[in-house]
Symmetry: C2
DNA sequence: TGGCAAAAGCTATTTTGTATCAGAAGTGTC
DNA sequence: GACACTTCTGATACAAAATAGCTTTTGCCA
């Protein structure tokens, strides 16, 4: 379920994708909505991988986030896989109020405008998260039809 | 401690600023870092206002957020006062890694670019939160000096 | 073989946020 | 005044999200 671009990225970076980390990354890629940490515990439990406790999952998430493979959707306390690991420090997410879907939305104009604006006021950005709430196209169409 | 522009806004909007809400808003305005909900419980307790329980504070925060008087810094699970209530649906925050200061940064170009870009992909934005992490000007100067 | 570091196990605790029901206080109506 | 109605608050309990601290395992290298 994990795209080949992602597995290739892991190999290039020499990342140790242990069974636990693999199951978690797999599960994130299998779903179209953000996944909660405690749901990941359940996933591990069902697959009988290790003896999943909160720390188990949070450590894996921590690793995956540090490697840029996963984003946290702060507004939902949930996680989604990154579609372009290693390619952005500016994360842009679209979160549908209706179906809770969360998509990455990578707009370069937007991403480059942020540091440009901040430079003028002397703020040195390290990373940024944009979370936009609203109605996704599918839900908009469903309502009007 | 609450700026007159804010109290004026409350009057115009006919908002009921009860003692509890006032203490919370006051405290947020007195500080330059985001404040946590349970710290606000403590503030109320020290001022002997009501009998502060979690729900007490969360209800007030909820009210203040709905009125646009307060923003939640999702990445920190903390709250800051809004400097321009009623004037924006796109909230932009600069959070210093070093001193934890969180400032509102209202850039119209940035705010208007977001719906523009999203319109092209059929997403209807309702509200957005941009949280930028990095080093603020003061901390940058302090390091280099 | 011993030492080291990264990963995972394990127990408990802390932090953050809700649900629910009941009481108090204001407001307008009859 | 009696009544419905609304908004705010009190109080108990609980749920959800995340971390602390310590031990054990495992692979690796000298
Ligand atoms: Zn990404
Ligand atoms: Zn949707
Ligand atoms: Zn604001
Ligand atoms: Zn700073």
């Amino acid at each position: 379920m994990i795209p080949t671009t992602i597995t290739a990225f892991c190999q290039r970076q020499n990342l140790e994708i242990t069974p636990i980390r693999k199951v978690i990354l797999d599960h994130l890629w299998q779903n179209h909505t953000p996944i909660k940490a405690y749901d990941l515990i359940e996933v591990l439990r069902l697959k009988a991988i290790g003896s999943p406790k909160p720390a188990t999952v949070y450590r894996s998430i921590d690793f995956l986030e540090r490697q840029g493979l996963v984003h946290k959707v702060h507004a939902l306390n949930a996680y989604i896989p990154c579609h372009h690991p290693g390619q952005h420090t500016a994360c842009q997410l679209l979160i549908c109020d209706n179906c809770n879907d969360a998509k990455e939305f990578c707009d370069d104009d937007l991403a480059s405008l942020i540091p440009l604006k901040l430079a003028k006021i002397g703020f040195q950005p390290r990373a940024s998260v944009l979370e936009v709430f609203g109605t996704c196209q599918q839900c908009t169409e469903a309502k009007t039809s």
